[in-house]
């Protein structure tokens, strides 16, 4: 049974089609990197999986069950990470606010809840960090704290929306390492959205690429190709590999073409309106 499956899912927001009959399935224990340009629908896809966005067609299943809002099997780290007017509050209190935060009544921090919070903090090595106030820690440390918050309730599927945003390469690497360790130790499925493939390329099992209302899920070598990406971007895209790094470029940017040209084939498929490419569920 898949951790997350999209079956012919369509989503319209404000009259615009964000996803058009998208199908794919993420298996248990898989680390998926989700890529796509700004506005491609990464956040929308995650919110749909959480039951927060109405579908105009199709069905989403979590561990074989239809999505419901507040599904405890999903851990989530939103892209908009809260306002934190109280940035002087300790990281612990911020993380703890999510423990039982969906229930009613006064907050109850009993021994079991505190153990659970400590476990989540330990999973990302943030126990000491949590003692400091949120205003006193760096962006990378903050991501770690919020990551631990997503682990509360021991989810089977983790949706992480751009955890690398505004981190330098060193911190990006450490966040990716932590997430990879979570996958290995907890055997949970993880969808990790990002704007760049390279920080993730060694850690992920497969890549989910969004564009032009479509989604393609597959191994990096199968998805990150000129042909597939040209289709998703609706414009000619070239993929360049330098050693083990991959560069995705719009057609008119000329970077050492001759030396590094790779799988750049023309299939002329770069004009599309929404919908209707039969071979679009090219996931493998």
């Amino acid at each position: 049974m898949s951790a997350l499956s999209f079956d012919q899912v369509s989503i319209k927001l404000g009259g615009r089609t964000i996803l058009a009959a998208v199908s794919f399935a993420v298996e248990n224990g898989e680390f998926i990197g989700m890529l796509g340009a700004n506005g491609a629908g990464k956040t929308t896809l995650m919110r749909a999986a959480l039951g927060l966005v109405p579908l105009s067609g199709g069905a989403i299943r979590i561990l074989g069950q239809p999505t419901t809002r507040g599904n405890g099997a999903i851990g989530y780290m939103p892209q908009a990470r809260g306002s934190f007017v109280g940035t002087r509050l300790t990281g612990y209190d911020i993380v703890a606010s999510a423990a039982g935060g969906a229930g009613w009544g006064l907050p109850r921090l009993d021994a079991a809840t505190r153990r659970e919070i400590d476990w989540a903090l330990d999973m990302v090595g943030a126990r000491d960090l949590a003692r400091r106030s949120l205003g006193e820690i760096s962006g990378g440390e903050r991501q770690r704290l919020l990551l631990s918050q997503a682990l509360l309730g021991r989810p089977k599927l983790l949706l992480l929306d751009e955890p690398l945003i505004s981190l330098d390469p060193g911190h990006q690497k450490s966040v990716v390492e932590i997430v990879k360790r979570l996958r290995d130790e907890l055997k949970i499925a993880i969808i990790f959205s990002a704007h760049e493939l390279n920080p993730l390329i060694h850690a992920i099992d497969r890549v989910l690429y969004l564009g032009a209302g479509k989604a393609v899920l597959g191994a990096v070598d199968e998805v990150i190709t000129g042909a597939v990406l040209s289709r998703l971007y609706g414009t000619e895209i070239e993929v360049v590999r330098i050693r083990d790094r991959v560069f995705v470029m719009a057609g008119d940017i000329d970077v050492e073409r001759d030396a590094h040209r790779h799988d750049h084939d023309e299939d002329g498929g770069h004009h599309h309106d929404h919908g209707h490419h039969d071979h679009d569920d090219a996931h493998v």
């Binding site: 939103p78 892209q79 911020i94 606010s97 999510a98 935060g101 009613w104």
Partner: protein, 286 residues
């Protein structure tokens, strides 16, 4: 000025403060309202909705003057109108209650309407002053009972929504994903704020509700980094400022509301100076 203070001090040494019935009532009323304001105000600050609270108090002014016009008790008008406004703001959504211009316009409109009501009742100038700047010394036993009942209801309601409220205040997207009904929580909260604001207006007046609802909470947030300690400290500071203000007013004969705002301002600005401070003790003004 010094002379007046001295003479007041002399007369009062002969008659202790608590020998007066109105002072005992005032202390009780100020105590109830301060604790409620300190706690509710803390969440108002945490949510960044202080301006919404301010606007609610102005709506309360309209309600109170309207009530007087129709021969009803001002507190009824205050509570009724602010509750309605809180409910409406909640329904219009988070977006509205954080939008400064919309709130500012509502605030002016309410105050203008209140002025119109006053216009029909020119003899109520002193009542207007009491509404605008408070009149804790005029609280009678009947009003005290109403304040106590409303405070208990608000605190029970706040206790009921505390968990999702804290969660949604800190991380609304995550809270929404975990199934917190954001709209319901924020509407319920604004209605609790409406009651707290109405009570606060009885003590310090609609123009000065910030002094008990925002000042202590903001100070508490800079004195401690722990959430629950901050809530408790906010309530304690509000209580201290309210009672301190009453005491100073009794011995100086200056207005109570002035003293409360003075103490609240002092504590708040002291909290800014004591930046990374941890000690609770530092919060009390000398």
């Amino acid at each position: 000025m010094a002379v007046i203070i001295t003479t007041m001090a002399i007369t009062t040494t002969t008659t202790p403060m608590f020998d007066y019935d109105f002072m005992r009532t005032a202390f009780a009323a100020a105590g109830i309202v301060a604790v409620l304001s300190g706690i509710v105000g803390f969440f108002l600050v945490l949510r960044g909705q202080t301006f919404a609270g301010h606007a609610l108090s102005h709506v309360g002014f309209t309600g109170a003057t309207g009530a007087v016009l129709f021969g009803l008790p001002p507190l009824a008008g205050l509570v009724g109108f602010t509750l309605l406004a809180g409910f409406g703001m909640g329904l219009l959504g988070e977006k509205f209650s954080e939008r400064d211009v919309a709130i500012g316009m509502m605030l002016s409109l309410a105050l203008g309407l209140g002025l119109l009501f006053l216009h029909f009742f020119t003899s109520y100038a002193s009542q207007a002053a009491a509404l605008l700047f408070g009149n804790v010394l005029g609280v009678d036993n009947q009003a005290l009972l109403s304040l106590a009942i409303l405070a208990v209801i608000s605190l029970v309601a706040l206790g009921f929504i505390a968990r999702p409220l804290i969660f949604a205040s800190l991380q609304s997207e995550l809270a929404e994903a975990r199934g917190v009904p954001l709209r319901f929580v924020s509407t319920a909260f604004l209605m609790i704020v409406a009651i707290a604001v109405s009570e606060c207006a009885q003590i310090v007046g609609v123009l000065l509700v910030f002094t008990l609802m925002v000042g202590p909470a903001a100070a508490a947030l800079s004195f401690t980094r722990r959430l629950y300690a901050a809530v408790a400290l906010s309530a304690a500071l509000a209580l201290l400022e309210a009672w301190g203000g009453l005491t100073l007013a009794f011995y100086s004969d200056w207005p109570v509301s002035f003293w409360i705002t003075a103490l609240s301002g002092l504590v708040y600005f002291a909290s800014l100076v004591n930046w990374g401070g941890i000690g609770r003790g530092a919060a009390t003004p000398a």
